[in-house]
Amino acid sequence: MLHIAFFARVKEQLGCAKLELEWGSDLSTVAGLQEHLCERNNGQWREVLSEDNIIRAVNHTVVSGDAALRDNDEVAFYPPVTGG
């Protein structure tokens, strides 16, 4: 199982904070997962998740798209940060 989380503006625009997907060969990289998610809601998620500045983290570490995913990984998608 992949544990997927969205935050801030991305979460609001998708109307979704968390979801789980069965890990599989087409979801074995972050980019693969992102493309899979873009297809959700008749492709409506693409507008949000295909933005250039989306940050991707696996198990609390920021990664690039070609990062590998393993079963039980926690994957997060979020906009540029604005704390402090």
Binding site: F7, A8, R9, A76, P80, T82, G83, G84
Partner: protein
């Protein structure tokens, strides 16, 4: 922070914090500290357009702490830090409220000043926290500022 085994502390909380108490907690046994440098961030009232009534802060529990702890560890490789602490508030905050505190102790002031600024710069550029301004016209997510990435990036140029 008084535990000598763990001189670095990162706390994400809703509650306000007491700067004087946080600073005292940086002091270790043995009185080796010659300097503590601290930074406190506040919620500003003014904005380019309209007034901010309040602000809602969201974060990524678990990753926020790890990100800031990693930043402190990087600072500790660069400067001789004795102890460091970060407190960041989340939830609803109002103009004038304290929002973030960074404190670093060292033997001399140079390392304390630099490490404090370094931790704050990377916190702003990397820690997964997001501000939403709530005003007369509803809520609006704050856009990331390029200057924050520039300030963090400048540390890799080796300036201290």
């Amino acid at each position: 922070m008084t535990n000598p085994e763990k001189p670095y502390s990162v706390i994400i909380q809703q509650a306000d914090f007491d700067i004087a108490q946080l600073q005292r907690e940086l002091l270790r046994e043995g009185a080796r500290e010659g300097a503590i440098a601290t930074f406190t961030g506040y919620v500003r009232a003014d904005k380019d357009a309209g007034n901010i009534q309040c602000m809602e802060l969201e974060h990524y529990p678990g990753m926020t702490e790890k990100s800031i702890e990693a930043t402190i560890a990087q600072a500790a490789e660069r400067w001789p830090i004795l102890a460091a602490g970060v407190v960041h508030r989340v939830g609803r905050l109002y103009p004038g409220d304290q929002i973030v505190w960074v404190g670093v102790s060292s033997i001399h002031r140079g390392a304390a000043f630099s490490a404090c600024e370094y931790v704050m710069d990377f916190l702003k550029a990397e820690a997964p926290l997001w501000k939403k301004e709530l005003g007369d016209q509803g809520g609006e997510w704050v856009e990331a500022k390029e200057i924050d990435a520039v300030r963090a990036g400048a540390w890799s140029g080796g300036e201290e």
